[in-house]
């Protein structure tokens, strides 16, 4: 069954989509609004601004890849073409492995479709601690509803795959809160390859929703184009300087593109948006740029089940537990959300930290393995300030991220709870993703073993797929980069509309938080631009 990739027909029908790797001469592009990045924030903003009749230009450094390219359901191809740094991005010291997308659709092209509204506790914390206005549960409800409707968000209707069922069964046994995850899919084939790009267009990523809708509304998309710097004049953004990339989307081709617009929107995602501003020497009178970059540090626990799990097949995430999320409120001991990852073979092979015969033995059990993950809620207390984005001499981004005792304790607690959960669901043996870990055959042994783990960088397997913050919004310019509507405090014609706006982490997978908040901010901006 051939899947319509949307873009072939769209481009034939007049969509303005250009591949900057084919540019042979320098050029100037003009628009009402130029948007840097085509992910969750950029896609949502583009649709709303173009619907308002504004001429929108979307600039994306990654390639345009569609369902047609995703039919192989292959990890190697996906990591190389759809992820930042070939999926090899990490914090500056290498201790935290970072997964982030880099293609038309941004990270939504490779994400796992879990769709949660921003927890009310988080919104309250933003209002009281960070002076964020007009972002209460009630303020945001209509915007979430609008995006949920557009993206087909609904609790997953099919039975969870066996990997997710471990989480459900364990939580049910222990009488922990658990719930079915709402997913942004339409006609999902339940394949499990969301992370390598959905081959059926079922995932309602930006690639198949807001970006095509923007193009229908006359927006223009230029991919293989990296925005290098903003230029300023008289306290305003006067233009963008961009470099066309070669077809492999790595090195610049030598062609330079200048972009002029009335208004500019940065949607390059956390890490890249603050880095772009730092590289441009944007005004930052209070040194806030790049601060409070949160990552939802993830630790994992692997279980061998008596039954076949085949955790690489089926909707990757369909069950979650918030049992330990708000136990002590937003600012008590570190809370975490429990989920499972899809058991993609190459990704899993790097989690054991073993080599030779031991490695061979560990990975050989893949069909019976379950993994649980805990997303820690960082950025809510002083001991967890998040990381800091900085740039090197050439302007390339680096993320410094340190882990305080507060986070290490949260992780150790997560290891304990995950082991309990997995044994309650019938696991034969359990081990942590940690260099000190060994298999434990029962919950008591596992709990004792977890106490012995040295909770330090590198020994602890640390991952992040949720990059947030770095251009925090807030009421006070002394402690934030944009106002509560995403407008840059010092640059009147500049908005930040992506995950880097968050003043803390979310405490749930962030995509719907970005869609809702950006829909609200972009609608307000569209109104202002229509007037002016």
């Amino acid at each position: 069954m051939a899947i319509n990739d949307l873009y072939t027909d769209g481009i034939a029908g007049g969509w303005k989509v250009r591949d900057a790797s084919t540019f042979t001469a320098d050029q100037v592009l003009e628009a009402d609004v130029a948007i840097v990045g085509s992910g969750a924030g950029g896609g949502t903003a583009a649709q709303i601004l173009s619907a308002a009749g504004l001429r929108v230009l979307i600039l994306e450094e990654g390639p345009l890849q569609t369902a047609r390219d995703f039919r192989d359901m292959n990890e190697a191809r996906a990591y190389a073409t759809l992820y930042q740094e070939g999926a090899g991005r990490s914090s500056s010291d290498g201790a935290l492995q970072i997964l982030q997308g880099r293609a038309v659709g941004g990270t939504t092209t490779v994400n796992w479709t879990s769709s949660f509204r921003t927890p009310p506790e988080t919104l309250k914390h933003w209002a009281t601690r960070h002076g964020v206005r007009e972002a209460s549960e009630q303020d945001l409800a209509p915007w979430f509803q609008r995006m949920e409707e557009q993206l087909g968000v609904a609790p997953w209707g099919m039975p969870p795959n066996a990997n997710n069922a471990v989480l459900r069964d364990g939580a049910a046994k222990l009488d922990w809160e658990w719930h079915v995850i709402p997913r942004n899919v339409r006609g999902c084939w339940n394949l499990g390859y969301c992370g390598t790009g959905c081959p059926t267009n079922a995932k309602q990523s930006m690639l198949v929703t807001t970006i095509p809708q923007s193009l229908r509304q006359g927006a223009e998309l230029v991919h293989h184009l990296r925005v290098q710097a903003l230029r300023f004049e008289g306290g305003r953004v006067a233009g963008l300087e961009a470099r066309a990339l070669k077809p492999d989307a790595l090195a610049p081709s030598g062609v330079r593109v200048t972009v002029r617009a009335r208004h500019y929107v940065l949607s390059g995602g956390a890490i890249n948006t603050p880095a772009l501003l730092l590289r441009s020497a944007a005004p930052d009178p209070h040194g806030q740029l790049g601060l409070r970059t949160c990552v939802h540090p993830v630790v994992l626990s692997i279980a061998e089940m008596p039954q076949k799990v085949d955790g690489y097949y089926g909707a990757p995430q369909s069950i979650a537990s918030d049992h330990f999320q708000w136990k002590q409120g937003a600012t008590g001991a570190c809370g975490f959300k429990l989920e499972v990852p899809p058991m993609m073979p190459a990704l899993l092979s790097t989690m054991f930290g073993r080599f030779g015969a031991e490695l061979k033995d560990e990975v050989g059990h893949l069909p019976q393995l379950n993994a649980a993950l805990a997303l820690l809620r960082d950025g809510f207390v002083e001991e967890s300030p998040g990381g800091r984005v900085r740039i090197d001499d050439a302007g390339e981004p680096l993320l410094d991220y340190d882990f305080s005792e507060y986070l290490w304790q949260g992780m150790r607690e997560a290891y304990r709870r995950m082991a309990e959960l997995q044994f309650a669901a019938g696991a034969r043996r359990v081990r942590q993703v940690h260099l000190d870990a060994r298999w434990a055959g029962n919950a008591g042994d596992a709990l004792r073993h977890v106490e012995t783990l040295r909770m330090v960088k590198f020994r602890t397997g640390l991952f992040s797929a949720h990059l947030m913050g770095g251009c925090a919004m807030g009421g006070d310019p002394k402690t934030s980069v944009t106002d509560s509507h995403g407008r840059h405090h010092q640059l009147e014609n500049l908005h930040v509309l992506d995950g880097s706006l968050f003043p803390t982490s979310i405490g749930a997978n962030p995509q719907l938080s970005i869609y809702g908040l950006v829909a609200k901010h972009a609608t307000r901006l569209a109104g202002e631009l229509a007037k002016g």
Partner: protein, 184 residues
């Protein structure tokens, strides 16, 4: 703590830092004097980032990291190409770190201090390489753990993204019915 990591005390790490610093200065000086630094940094034939010396290093590491999973005397060219591609895609800051690590292991005194292997990589025995990997993995020094993990990840992804690796893991590949339906 296994015995083998004992020499890697804080003191030996200090020594290692000093040695590495000295050796790096000397070698960059040497390269400057000879005016041929480009040559040393050129990628190996058919590759875009890994240099001949890096290839030699991975030819020693791969058979040990993936012992039991690689056929004896496997050519390794595919693995090397995938490692090369992974390094190529890293951002400039991460590439700098990776090459610092490789460079350290190419300089005899530093290599000897850090890994216990004085011989060039092509002469290192699998037992020596295994001892070095274990030592770095189990070390109390985070930097060595980091180096071990970097090698582990590069070697694992070079292997387990491939059908041979999948078969060893018991991964049957994408769902056959869907694959056929989508690729008809």
């Amino acid at each position: 703590m296994p015995e083998s990591s004992a020499p890697l005390s804080r003191r030996s790490l200090l020594k290692l830092g000093l040695a590495a610093g000295t050796v790096l200065t000397v070698s960059s000086l040497g390269a400057g004097l000879a005016g041929c630094s480009r040559r040393d940094h050129a990628a190996a034939a058919g590759l875009r980032r890994l240099r001949d010396a890096d290839v030699e290093l991975f030819r020693a590491l791969l058979p040990v990291m993936l012992a039991g999973s690689l056929p004896a005397a496997a050519p390794l060219d595919g693995h090397l190409a995938r490692i090369d591609d992974a390094v190529l895609r890293l951002g400039a800051p991460a590439q700098r770190e990776v090459f610092k690590l490789f460079d350290l292991l190419h300089l005899r005194p530093a290599r000897w201090l850090a890994t216990g292997i004085a011989e060039p990589w092509r002469e290192a025995t699998p037992q020596q390489v295994a001892a070095f990997l274990e030592r770095w993995r189990d070390s109390r020094v985070g930097l060595f753990n980091a180096g071990y993990l970097a090698f582990n990840k590069l070697c694992c992804t070079a292997h387990y993204t491939q059908p041979e690796g999948w078969a060893q893991m018991g991964y049957p590949g994408p769902l056959a019915w869907a694959y056929e339906s989508l690729n008809r």
